[in-house]
């Protein structure tokens, strides 16, 4: 029931400026600006903290100048109003902060913050003018973008996005290029001087021009390119496809050599999360059963691995198996636990299922933590000296070698999930997700189908947990909090529920990126939360959606709205 907003355009612009200003001040007060300031986007010129504020201005100016019913002059004006209001509010905040000591309550309102916000300028009023001026210019430029043709607009957007990504991911790029000194040398102009972070000014401009130009050219000739590639003989097309798969496989195989230990370790965490994501994707994405206690299975896999292989002797059990002997059991235990925890919740749906599984996750964690089970699982100290995987006589104890174990596990899980998707059972899961009662009426056995979803999902989680235990060679209950469940849920939702490429992209984005950008990690869950809300409001099907889901979420745009409940 969307009410038509009748307020005049300038009032809306003012409003969105006020909201933007509050968000900008909040971003400063929770310490985001200050901690992002430590990283440079353009070496010595623009820091990530300033970029954050700029992006806020850009975003708000863009949305407030989007209303196509207004004449272009009014649209530009509303964009500028929004930008200026944001800047004025920031200035007001800085002035207030200099008079009142906010720090006694708000821990992040430090002198450093004000210094960042006033660009380290001595003269306060000059700084305020500068802030408002920059904001006005930026919002003017952003609003004017509506006046240029969409093809160009897209090229400019892509150019800026790539520059930003490149600047954020420069560490990754620098590390991966280390084995190739020639390339490093050749690209030296792109980055700031030694010891500096960020792109150089020249680098940023060149990258922007190249990317935007390429995007523009390919967009202009898109039809011609498509026609030519379709005109290729089918043999060549096939060969091309196989070559690209082959290249991907080769890249995956040599990745740890390029990446070095630190990046390999990051990749391994991403892999473990992708593994969990694939499992939860079966439960939530395929079968539509919202499980918030997924970490329980991860924990069970890890503890089974711990109990079966530990040589520490602190606990009651003394199996001392090898990694490979214990692995199937870890998966099995997690899968069985999936069935056992699944049985009681068979009849429970939706919100209740979410809260009850959340309860299960907590129960399992508290049990592992308790004195009651301490003789078996080591209480809060957990289990130490867990076996590392071996191949022949080589220990796979470095991140670079363990990578292959995780890669293999991911590939197996991906294959299983892919084959299950369109199988009989996969279609049964989707039927349950769409409508349980109808599915049952169509002859689907709800009990076995749901339990199978829980068991398969749990088994993937267990596999991930088992490798996690071997990776750290210790497990303790504090690693298995609700936060892990939320992380996994966020990654499958951002990627697109039910979509396999979505899980991988989600894992790379939500686990890989925060690990690379340590400034992010403090605000990781905050950003995840914002992502979850923003995704659900604007793009509930995720970035790489499954076709069915996309149709489902945009149903009302095709059908008449009267059919809603």
């Amino acid at each position: 029931m969307e009410h038509e907003n009748k307020s005049p355009w300038w009032q809306k612009a003012l409003q969105s400026g006020l909201i933007g200003g509050i968000i900008a001040i909040l971003a400063a007060l929770i310490g985001m600006v200050e901690s992002f300031h430590a990283r440079d986007i353009i070496a010595g010129q623009i820091s990530m903290g300033e970029t954050l504020l700029l992006l806020l201005i850009v975003g708000f100016a863009y949305t407030s100048s989007r209303d196509e019913r207004l004449p272009i002059s009014n649209r530009v004006l509303s964009g500028v109003i929004t930008g200026v209001v944001i800047a004025v509010m920031m200035v007001g905040f800085i002035m207030l902060g200099k008079v009142v000591n906010l720090r006694s309550i708000l821990v992040n309102a430090s002198p450093v913050l004000y210094k960042i916000l006033t660009f380290d300028m001595e003269n306060a009023s000059a700084a305020y003018g500068y802030l408002i001026g920059i904001s006005a210019i930026t919002s003017l430029a952003v609003s004017l973008i509506h006046a240029i043709p969409p093809l160009w607009r897209r090229a400019i957007n892509t150019g800026f996005t790539i520059v930003l990504l490149l600047a954020l991911l420069q560490d990754l790029l620098r590390i991966t290029l280390t084995p190739f000194p020639a390339v490093t040398e050749a690209l030296a102009w792109m980055f700031g001087k030694r010891g500096e972070q960020g792109l150089s000014v020249v680098g940023a401009v060149v990258v922007f021009i190249v990317v935007a130009g390429f995007n523009l050219l390919s967009a202009m000739n898109r039809d011609a390119i498509r026609k030519r590639s379709q005109a290729l003989p089918s043999g060549t097309q096939k060969a091309l496809r196989w070559t690209s798969w082959g290249l991907l496989a080769a890249f995956l195989l040599i990745w740890p050599r390029i990446a070095g230990p630190v990046l390999s370790d990051v990749t391994n965490s991403v892999g473990l999360y992708i593994l969990m994501g694939l499992g939860l994707n079966i439960v939530v994405g395929y079968a539509g059963l919202l499980d918030l206690g997924y970490v329980a299975f991860y924990a069970l896999g890890a503890f089974t691995m711990g109990v079966l292989t530990t040589t520490g002797g602190e606990i009651f059990f003394d199996f001392q198996w090898t990694f490979w002997e214990a692995l199937p059991f870890a998966v099995l235990v997690a899968g069985l636990a999936g069935v056992f925890l699944g049985i009681p919740v068979l009849k429970i749906r939706g919100d209740y299922l979410a809260i009850i599984t959340l309860g299960f996750g907590e129960i399992i964690r508290i049990m592992f933590l308790s004195d009651f089970l301490k003789p078996y699982f080591g209480g809060s100290f957990g289990i130490v000296s867990i076996a590392t995987p071996t191949v022949g006589s080589t220990l796979l104890n470095t991140p670079q070698t363990l990578y292959y174990v995780i890669l293999a596990a991911c590939l197996v899980a991906l294959f299983v999930a892919y084959r299950l998707r369109d199988s009989r059972i996969g279609r049964a899961w989707k039927a349950i997700r769409e409508d349980e009662d109808v599915a049952q009426a169509m002859g689907i056995n709800l009990t076995s189908t749901k339990l199978l979803a829980f068991a398969t999902g749990a088994a993937f989680g267990g596999l991930s947990g088992a490798i996690f235990a071997a990776k750290l060679s210790t497990v303790y209950p504090h690693s298995f909090t609700l936060i892990t469940s939320i992380n996994v849920l966020a990654l499958i939702i951002v990627g697109g529920m039910g979509s396999l490429p979505g899980v991988i992209v989600g894992g790379l984005l939500l686990v890989g990126l925060p690990e690379l950008l340590r400034e992010f990690s403090e605000f990781r869950l905050l950003i995840f939360g914002i992502l979850l809300i923003a995704m659900m409001l604007n793009k509930p099907e995720g970035f790489l959606p499954e076709a069915v889901h996309r149709r489902e979420f945009h149903e009302d745009e095709n059908l008449s709205p009267a059919t809603g409940d």
């Binding site: 029931m1 749906r349 919100d351 209740y352 129960i363 004195d371 849920l489 939360g529 979850l532 659900m536």
Partner: protein, 353 residues
């Protein structure tokens, strides 16, 4: 005949019956053994009971927020635990300032009222904000969608407050006038517990009267019956939903103060456990049912304070108090399994459950 009987029982019901019997068996055996061993005096048991009632009335206040929103929107407001935290955490600064200036000592009642006002105002603001941003645009979306935004909102609020106020535990200043306790025979009750129980009872009574006897209350009940028909009857549904959030959030803010004067420690993560327990309480009493939330809260508080000792001590479980959360969550599971409508709830139709 035999075949027909076999057809009628199904796997789910049988396994549920087994789980239920096992739980009841454990509880009965455990309680029996504990009582026979008699390691605890009557006085100790009464202490547990009093503590349970005080704790339970805090749960009940939070549970009312879940129940009110569920009654109207049929959704679990996952961010409610953070609404509770926001009030309590923000009021800490008022408490610290008043303790420092000596106002708390001179005018204790005034100071406590100020605390309540600060906490309830903050919580209300946050609650309404969450409704506006995360729930209102999604009124007609599939049910999974608002649930996920609620989880997102909960994380966002947690970490915004962490960023604003820092991540350390903050110790609420002690209130002089609330030290000490009253004793009648074997019953020993601290002054803080008296304050907690009385204020919770007062607020719950006020809410009950408001919902039963005012025009807004009537409109709220109408909206919870059927939104569309209520709108046709001239009720502004959105405005009523906002008022519902206001009521729930204000009660959560008050609960935040009661929690803070009882446990005297606040931090950004404090909402999670009380939040999920209060949800349990709401389910226990019958979600969507206001007296149910009150009864459920008290019940859960009692279970949690008496339960670990009563059920587990006899089974020789070391440190049974560590497992009190397990008992609370198991209660949730058992209630959802065997009586999803709760103690006082009406039989839920299938699309509600």
């Amino acid at each position: 005949m035999r075949q027909r009987f076999l057809n009628r029982i199904n796997f789910t019901d049988v396994s549920l019956a087994i789980i239920g019997t096992a739980f009841v068996g454990l509880i009965v055996v455990g309680s029996f053994k504990t009582l026979v061993e008699g390691n605890y005096t009557t006085r100790q048991w009464l202490d547990f009971v009093v503590f349970g009632i005080a704790q339970g009335s805090i749960y009940a206040l939070i549970a009312l927020g879940y129940t009110l929103v569920y009654g109207i929107l049929r959704m679990i407001n996952f961010a409610h635990s953070e609404v509770f935290m926001a009030g309590s955490y923000t009021a800490y600064f008022a408490a610290a300032a008043m303790a420092k200036s000596g106002f708390t000592r001179e005018n204790t009642l005034g100071a406590i009222l100020v605390l309540f006002a600060v906490a309830m105002a903050t919580s209300t603001f946050i609650g309404v904000l969450v409704e506006r941003i995360a729930y209102r645009p999604l009124r007609r979306a599939p049910r999974l969608v608002p649930l996920i935004t609620a989880i997102g909102a909960s994380e966002v609020l947690k970490y915004i407050f962490k960023g604003l106020y820092g991540d350390q535990f903050k110790a609420y200043p002690e209130i002089e006038a609330l030290k000490g306790s009253y004793t009648w025979g074997d019953i020993n009750i601290t002054k803080i517990q008296v304050v907690v129980i009385l204020s919770a009872a007062f607020l719950m009574l006020a809410l009950y009267l408001y919902v039963q006897y005012t025009k807004t209350g009537k409109a709220m009940r109408a909206v919870s019956e059927d939104k569309d028909v209520a709108a046709l009857m001239g009720i502004n549904v959105d405005a009523i939903i906002v008022r519902t959030f206001v009521l729930g959030a204000a009660l959560a803010g008050a609960a935040g103060i009661l929690y803070a004067i009882t446990f005297r420690q606040v931090n950004f993560f404090m909402g999670f456990i009380p939040g999920i327990k209060a949800f349990t309480a709401a389910v226990l009493g019958g979600i969507g049912n206001i007296p149910g939330a009150m009864v459920g809260g008290i019940f859960l508080g009692l279970f949690e304070s008496v339960g670990p000792i009563l059920f587990l001590d006899g089974l020789n479980v070391p440190a049974p108090y560590q497992l009190k959360d397990v008992i609370a969550f198991s209660m949730l599971v058992l209630v959802l399994l065997f009586r999803p409508s709760g103690i006082l709830g009406e039989r839920l139709s299938r699309n509600k459950a």
